[in-house]
């Protein structure tokens, strides 16, 4: 494959929440119908009968890993997974069998700020899919045996992640950047947190955080509205609201790294060194979003970006180099990442820091700004092409209270980003002296090359956790 697949953790949401399209065209995201179930859940609905399939999405505010007690890191995602491992009516095998039989997919997982439920099936099977989803949401069994199995599987998966430095460097970065901040919770938990985890902690998290009064849902696909309303009322509509008030969904302000911090993780068998560099960004919905997107596209957000041009296209140092912003309600971060042969990591970082300085000082040429605007706008429509992507956009736009014309406004704003505005965004957001840098590689070879890049910390890949 020729291109870097932009799959960094920073990009999953950014890809949809940061994009643009031909102006004056139809709305990017068709306005959905708003349905309110008797238990208060709002469901956004769009009918699409092109293919005999339906997608369901739901977010549950405050059920993300950032809201776990510090002592129960991993509880949110563990709760989400265990909700599908048996209910009052069906054991785990029965749930899996029923879903697999339909060829359908159903998933519950925890992001940082919310938990998400995703279901996709043939229209024919959608009623059964929703029955199972409702059962998992409202009556999970949380059996001791399933807890023990899932915990053991996760501990082993974390070990296996350390064999893949490209994956491991992300975990190390999240810990190094956020430290004890709630956004430093790894959704998977850590080996130590999982060892100490109790089933009670998982049940407690579920009881407090998974609730209909903080849920928003969307359905897009081949189904009639009347049928859908009846189906939803008899499934997720029967999810009863707890007597207690919903817990706080406020995440404290993000850490603001001061000075240059470097963490080297020694992986003696690595033939490449992998880095992630991070610094403060901006919050979801911040007015800097369009100019930051135009700027980042040029700096490290696409194939011909400065970063990829210098590291890959001109020098052949790497297969991929990219940068991205990641945003939450409470704030955001900027990250840049790449990898190269161990002996080239010093050169790669010198170039990267050189480009950060250049962006902040010089900004970008007018034709580049135009190219970036065109690119963001031209690449947008496919991001909302499927039922699932539309349903996902509805729940996220509602969650962040952006308004369903958000994308139209955003794309229009992209079209108006000036050379000056992009330069100002670069000066404000490309880190120079305050950052967290994490490198995973063979320390014996790369230690001397890295000394100058920051205050030193070193770990072995075999040390516990990240």
């Amino acid at each position: 494959m020729k291109k870097l697949a932009l799959t960094g953790f920073a990009l999953v949401l950014a890809a949809v929440l940061a994009a643009p399209a031909p102006l004056a065209a139809a709305a990017q995201l068709p306005a959905p119908e708003k349905l309110v179930l008797k238990n208060g859940i709002t469901v956004y609905f769009l009918k699409n009968s092109d293919l005999p399939i339906v997608s369901f999405r739901m977010v549950v505010r405050g059920a993300g890993s950032a809201f776990e007690p510090a002592a129960a890191e991993g509880a949110a995602n563990l709760a989400a997974t265990l909700m599908m491992k048996g209910t009052a009516k069906m054991d785990a095998d029965a749930v899996a069998e029923a879903l697999d039989f339909m060829g359908a997919s159903l998933g519950i997982s925890a992001a940082d700020e919310y938990a998400q439920v995703s279901g996709d099936s043939l229209s024919l099977h959608f009623p059964r899919l929703m029955e199972i989803a409702a059962d998992c949401l409202t009556a999970p069994a949380f059996k001791t045996e399933e807890f023990a199995k899932e915990r053991a599987r996760r501990i082993d998966s974390l070990k296996s992640a350390k064999d893949n430095p490209g994956a491991a460097v992300r975990y190390y970065f999240q810990k190094a950047y956020f430290g004890g901040h709630p956004l430093g919770h790894l959704a998977t938990g850590t080996e130590s947190s999982l060892q100490k985890m109790t089933l009670q902690a998982v049940k407690d998290f579920y009881a407090l955080h998974f609730r209909p009064d903080t849920a928003i849902a969307a359905v897009v696909g081949d189904i009639e509205k009347d049928k859908l309303v009846a189906l939803l009322e008899s499934t997720v509509g029967r999810w009863a609201k707890p007597a207690s008030a919903a817990p706080s969904d406020v995440i404290p302000a993000l850490p603001q790294p001061k000075g240059k911090t470097l963490l080297l993780v020694d992986k003696p068998d690595a033939t490449q060194a992998y880095f992630v560099l991070g610094a403060p960004g901006y919050a979801m919905g911040d007015k800097v979003t369009p100019q930051a997107a135009v700027m980042n596209t040029l700096w490290g957000g696409r194939f011909t970006s400065w970063l990829n041009t210098e590291l890959r296209i001109k020098r052949g140092l790497t297969y991929g180099a990219s940068s991205a912003f990641r945003t939450w309600v409470a704030g955001g971060i900027f990250t840049a990442s790449s990898y190269t042969k161990n002996d080239k990591i010093g050169e790669m970082l010198d170039i990267t820091f050189g480009l950060l300085g250049k962006g902040a000082k010089e900004g970008f040429a007018a034709t580049d700004i135009e190219s970036s605007r065109n690119y963001i706008q031209g690449q947008f429509p496919p991001t909302l092409e499927t039922n699932a992507s539309k349903a996902g956009a509805y729940v996220r736009v509602a969650f962040y209270n952006l308004g369903f014309d958000y994308y139209d406004k955003y794309l229009a704003a992209i079209g108006n980003v000036s050379v000056e505005a992009a330069k100002a965004a670069a000066a404000a957001l490309l880190p120079q002296d305050d950052y967290v840098l994490v490198v995973v590689g063979k320390a014996a070879d790369i230690r001397p090359l890295l000394k100058k890049f920051g205050t030193w910390q070193e770990k072995k890949i075999t040390d516990p956790d990240f």
């Binding site: 899996a96 060829g103 893949n164 020098r315 790497t318 990898y339």
Partner: protein, 441 residues
């Protein structure tokens, strides 16, 4: 990053079905230019964009020792300049017009995937036709790109234990056919392909008579065909590329490969020689893979992950290929798990299928999975373009896309048992193990 970026065979799990009214064979307009270029056009005005996919009938299957990985390398060089469009200009011009692209190389094919707003169509057809006929292979650029591919191999194979094992198992199971090596190629070949060899390879396989052009999206067909003729008709056909004549000899006994490597977690896989995509036994084997391996209710997931807790995950199946390839079972064992026990469980489950076959319910489940995957893959203009092109290349007939589900439904359930007995045998089996050494706790 995807685990095996150079092997994105998107169509692997996507088969057709009696298609809904939304997408019919009649919606595909088919043309062939005098120089042999096959053109498939599908109008779709859902979004104001176009997917333009170009497929070449070339992949690692067409390579030879010393030139392994060169198909994939040419895929990289396709972005690095012609006399008309300088190095890097393809991407710069495309991005300026709001487009983006990617490409992939597989064992049997190379695909170039362009996504762009409708107004960029002529510029894209112009640039695609240009790079089909005149890559520059500028020496400095070639050397730099060699470094990129070496990095891709380091990332995708050398720093990924499952891939190291996969490469070793493939090379052990397949001894004669070019499927012996992985698409990325051996590192020593990557570091030593000569420019003249690369150019000769490009000239042999990059020609209109060896290509399929698929355009899906927001365009007007007559006008688009006119543009295609304008830019592609001047390109001359090449001499037909040589066919791949090597036939893998039958395996005559069990094989195994053991890797000892610094790691936290072990890896394990088993493969058997399997028929090609057109063989009458392929669909029964593909059906077999679903109740055996797909989903948490599959027989092996239940036994290995849930009941005996020997593994973190299982996967695999049959792969659609031009020549016979492998049926694979991938297992990620838990650290310290007994490999022999894993192998025994697999053999026990296979023995059940060889004796009793799969249940009618499992058969129906396989059909549901096939149907779901199929529709999910047709939701996008790029999904349609990819499937049409891949079917045309693999089966020589894109129309297969519109009938293959009927072919699936017509498979007799007893055939699953028969193919299990025929292919998943002791003498046809290669087993691979990666054992952690040092480093691991």
């Amino acid at each position: 990053m995807p685990k095996k970026t150079w092997l994105t065979i998107l169509f692997l799990s996507t088969f057709a079905l009696s298609l809904s009214a939304a997408f019919k064979k009649e919606d595909v307009k088919v043309y062939q230019l005098a120089n042999g270029l096959k053109v498939l056009l599908v109008e779709d005005h859902n979004i104001p964009n176009i997917a333009l996919y170009t497929f070449f009938r070339v992949g690692s299957r067409n390579e030879r020792p010393g030139l392994t990985g060169v198909s994939h390398f040419i895929e990289h060089m396709m972005f690095n300049g012609t006399p008309k469009v300088g190095p890097g200009e393809f991407d710069r011009r495309m991005e300026f017009r709001g487009g983006s692209n990617n490409a992939y190389t597989a064992d049997d094919m190379t695909g170039y995937t362009d996504w762009f707003p409708a107004p960029a169509l002529e510029a894209m057809i112009d640039m695609e036709a240009d790079r089909m006929q005149g890559l520059a292979f500028v020496p400095d650029v070639l050397e730099s790109e060699r470094g990129v591919v070496a990095s891709e191999r380091r990332m995708g194979v050398e720093n990924n234990n499952d891939s190291i094992l996969n490469e070793n198992v493939r090379a052990t199971a397949i001894m004669a056919h070019p499927y012996h090596w992985d698409v990325i190629g051996w590192m020593s070949d990557i570091l030593s392909w000569r420019r003249d060899e690369v150019i000769a390879y490009y000239r042999t396989y990059y020609a209109p008579n060896n290509a399929i052009l698929v355009v899906v999206g927001d365009f007007e067909p007559a006008k688009t065909l006119g543009l295609i003729k304008k830019y592609y008709e001047p390109i001359k056909a090449s001499i037909a590329p040589p066919s791949v004549s090597t036939v893998e000899p039958p395996q005559m006994g069990p094989k195994s490969v053991l890797i000892r490597k610094e790691a936290q977690a072990p890896s394990f896989m088993v493969v058997w020689h399997a028929p090609n995509a057109k063989d009458a036994d392929f669909l029964p084997l593909s059906i077999l893979a679903k109740p055996l391996l797909q989903g948490e209710s599959s027989r092996l997931y239940r036994r290995l992950v849930r009941e005996e807790q020997l593994a973190i995950r299982v996967g695999g199946g049959a792969q659609e290929t031009i020549d016979p390839f492998l049926f694979t079972i991938d297992v990620k064992p838990r650290p310290g798990a007994d490999f022999d026990k894993i192998d025994r469980v697999i053999e026990e489950e296979l023995a059940k299928i060889k004796n009793e076959g799969i249940t009618p319910k499992e058969f129906e489940k396989a059909m549901n999975i096939v149907r779901n995957d199929f529709y999910m893959g047709l939701q996008t203009i790029s999904g349609k373009a990819n499937q049409l092109g891949a079917y045309e290349l693999l089966y020589g007939d894109f129309g297969k896309l519109f009938t293959i589900m009927d072919d699936y439904a017509a498979v007799k359930i007893e055939r699953v048992k028969e193919v299990a007995k025929k292919y998943l045998t002791e003498n046809n089996k290669t087993i691979g193990k990666l054992v952690p050494e040092g480093g691991a706790k």
